[in-house]
């Protein structure tokens, strides 16, 4: 028997729909090592990732959000009770600190998408200049253009990220910004926002969108603080594991 873990809390959680876990399993909140863990009891080591199970995981974490701000676990965490107790015991200090940081906060997500006509891509302007060049020259020119374009895009992504951070500075507690996480995304940002500042956050973001109408935005939230939950790096550095 393993415990499939949804999230961890530092206060009691009242779960209304106890049969809505992964695979239709019941959901319980149990006290362990001074924490409250929201779990389902499962037989399998690996819970299959399907649309239903993934949505169930998020649904349970969101339900816990009604009572408190939990630390969400990544999908698929199924461990023995002994392993979980050991984990909680070894990382108590980091977890308590993390709870203090995320208390009464939510995560808001912003992804900025590169426009399809690539107004951000200056290499396009030079595209027609050497169409009639010899194949070798054309290859080198294309290569150079790609390199210059990539550098320029990274620079512009940094500039946009800087502007976004400056705009949101007063209304967010923490931020995680990734520049160009994929080819079509300029930046992916996660903001930790106090629940009381959510409206102000949305106003500031709307203002930023108006300032940069050429950019496409995908905004979502509020989320449980998935992006601000992990303490793994601190643990590894503490124990010198590499």
């Amino acid at each position: 028997m393993r415990l499939y873990i949804y999230c961890l809390a530092d206060t009691l959680i009242h779960l209304e729909n106890s049969g809505n876990g992964v695979g239709g399993k019941g959901v319980e909140s149990v006290e362990l090592e001074e924490f409250v863990v929201v779990i389902s009891r499962v037989e399998e080591e690996i819970v299959a990732a399907t649309r239903e199970t993934i949505l169930a995981h998020d649904r349970v974490v969101r339900a816990a959000m009604k009572d408190t701000t939990p630390l969400p676990f990544r999908f698929g965490t199924a461990v023995t009770q002994e392993s979980l107790a050991s984990y909680l015991n070894a990382r108590r200090k980091s977890l308590v600190e993390r709870f203090a940081e995320i208390r009464d906060c939510v995560e808001m997500s912003v992804k900025i998408i590169r426009p399809t006509d690539s107004q951000l891509d200056p290499s396009h302007a030079a595209m027609s200049t050497l169409d009639s060049a010899k194949p070798g020259t054309a290859f080198l020119v294309a290569k150079r253009r790609a390199l210059l374009g990539e550098e320029s895009l990274t620079e512009q992504a940094g500039e946009i990220a800087g502007q976004l951070s400056a705009r949101m500075k007063g209304v967010v507690k923490r931020e995680q910004v990734t520049l160009q996480p994929t080819q079509k995304l300029v930046i992916a940002a996660a903001f930790l926002v106090r629940r009381s500042d959510e409206l102000e956050y949305k106003r500031e973001l709307a203002a930023f969108r108006q300032e940069r109408p050429e950019l496409h935005f995908l905004t979502s939230g509020p989320w449980p603080p998935y992006s601000f939950a992990n303490i793994d790096l601190e643990f590894k550095s503490h124990f010198g594991v590499s």
Partner: protein, 90 residues
């Protein structure tokens, strides 16, 4: 290689307010890529790659995450075999 977002976000300008395909993708991005991860003892003893992470998330998570893991393994010169097999071989 690309993340699931590349397939649907071209030219989009979307504010999510309810259940939709995009909100599912956002959910995938959060639930599969982020959150607390329990690093088991085998992981710590063999490499800094979580067995659960490799066995589950890489196969069904974003390509970006899988690439990160593979790049890190390559950087460390770890052969492309599972941590479990490495542990067994030792």
């Amino acid at each position: 290689m690309s993340s699931p977002f590349d397939q649907v976000l071209i030219g989009s300008d979307v504010q999510l307010t309810d259940e939709s395909e995009l909100s599912l993708l956002e959910t995938l991005d959060h639930v599969l890529n982020r959150g607390l991860v329990i690093a088991g003892e085998i992981t710590i003893a063999v490499a800094d790659v979580d067995l659960i992470f490799v066995g589950l998330n890489v196969l069904i998570s974003s390509v970006e995450t899988a690439n990160e893991v593979l790049r890190e393994r390559e950087r460390r010169g770890i052969a492309a075999v599972s941590p479990a097999k490495q542990a067994a071989d030792q």
